[in-house]
Symmetry: C2
Subunit: 248 residues, 2 copies
DNA sequence: TTATATTGTCTCATTATGGAACAATAATAA
DNA sequence: TTATTATTGTTCCATAATGAGACAATATAA
């Protein structure tokens, strides 16, 4: 992190990084029946942004994504999906970043590398809300979970990026219904009830599903192992707990 | 095309273009029951590549894609899909491009902008085989249709790019089956038989489909208009001709 | 005129899905 | 202790979708 700090402040040329290329992340977590994503906050500016990063000159693009994801969440081995590359000219707006840098006491020149035009590769990730250690980058003051329905206005085209990420995630859910479902594992506890799994689907898809049909389909996929243990805590029949079958 | 020529030869800095960012195209056409894509050939080098291009400094990424697609095929208003961005270090191999430039009588220095590392945004397009005017770029000698099953070994990671494009196209076919099917229009004649449409699906998906089921599903989508005209030419009952319903 | 290949449609068994019912039961209220 | 309540796991059935094939229709070739 110490070497990280310097790339923003001391190095006005962005040496060691590919010029004009950035990455932005839509990092999904699931907590209390809500989908959330990680946002960066900039104090005194009222600006919010997606976590992002840059690609080193001797680094694979997707490796850079994993590295930055680790830097922001402390997590490795994450379900990570490159979903779109954003390259509109409307992204090229020096104002927000200049405001942020000035709020940090910097006085960047017009040709500071961070103020140039960037094309940004979008990734989304599904991570374990409970294990994540949200960490702001050197320019930000905070890295916080925001409920998807409650997002503030974000910098540049970042709201569009979130929208596209969610669309892609939904489409992939449909397609992956037949395959290995372990994508959902990081979003749930190790053992979970069928109701919790259904709630996760409903939250991502933004619509209610029929209970019996959902149970029928999930059990039919042979990806769930029913545990003998039972959950307790509600004034009703105790549901089974399930785990995803690994390997498969 | 005149201004195009100069960007490769006279301008060793690539001025006016975003550095390190390229686009590669998998341009699909359909002819004689075969799926084909456009390849560039380089004489005296035995090298083949996907058509590609660069993004101007004051141009949207997707607009650049449409521009380059027009330059290579002469076509506008094309179904164009950005499917993945390729950024592995293994792409960074000066040899093929140096060979090509030398075969053209150029002697580029090691830091010639074309010999630097590029991250490339992949697009695929479905175009009308009959209306296309394949046009090589200034570095290439030829722009030719190749059957997908007969592709030669391509430069750099271009075979991977083709593979990924086909995977994406197939996945999108499945998803779009319920929606508007006009994506298929550029690949077929204005009027076509159900058998021709089925053949197109089978070729893209790489598998046989059941005839009665295909007909049932297609007619049920309400996207086809049955024409009174009938095709003739085979020693059998004449099939109906169909058109896609526009607007819808 | 007959044969042949392919088409448009239909049939029927099988499977999947929508929607609801039902008994089971863990906690809570009486 | 007993009744109540909310939620679960399962079953049921009507409807829809799908797989696999049968059959008559017919434009050309023999």
């Amino acid at each position: 992190m110490s070497g990280n700090e310097s790339r923003f402040e001391q190095n006005s040329e962005g040496a060691g990084y590919l010029p004009g290329l950035a990455m932005d992340f839509v990092i999904f977590g699931f907590d209390q029946d809500q989908l959330k994503i990680l946002l960066l906050e900039y104090r005194n500016t009222n600006l919010f942004a997606l976590p992002g990063g840059f690609v080193k000159e001797n680094e694979n693009l997707n490796d850079a994504a994993r590295r930055v994801l680790g830097e922001r969440t402390g997590l490795a081995d994450i379900y990570l999906d490159q979903f779109y590359t954003f390259g509109d000219l409307s992204r090229y707006d020096q104002e927000p970043l200049r405001t942020i840098m000035q709020a940090k006491g910097m006085d960047p020149k017009d040709d500071h590398w961070l103020l140039r035009r960037f094309v940004s590769v979008g990734y989304y990730a599904l991570i374990d809300f409970r294990r994540a250690a949200p960490t702001p980058d050197p320019l930000s003051d905070n890295c916080v979970w925001y409920t998807l329905e409650n997002l503030p206005a974000l910098m540049l085209d970042h709201n569009d990026i979130v929208k596209k990420a969610l669309e892609t995630l939904r489409a992939n859910l449909d397609r992956k219904l037949g395959g290995n479902e372990s994508w959902a594992a990081p979003l749930l506890a190790k053992a979970f009830t069928m109701g919790e799994l259904q709630k996760l689907y409903e939250t991502i898809l933004g619509q209610k599903l029929r209970r019996s049909g959902f149970q029928r389909k999930m059990l039919g996929l042979d990806i769930l192992e029913r545990l003998e243990k039972q959950y307790s805590g509600g004034a009703h029949k105790a549901p089974y707990l399930y785990q995803f079958i690994i390997d498969k």
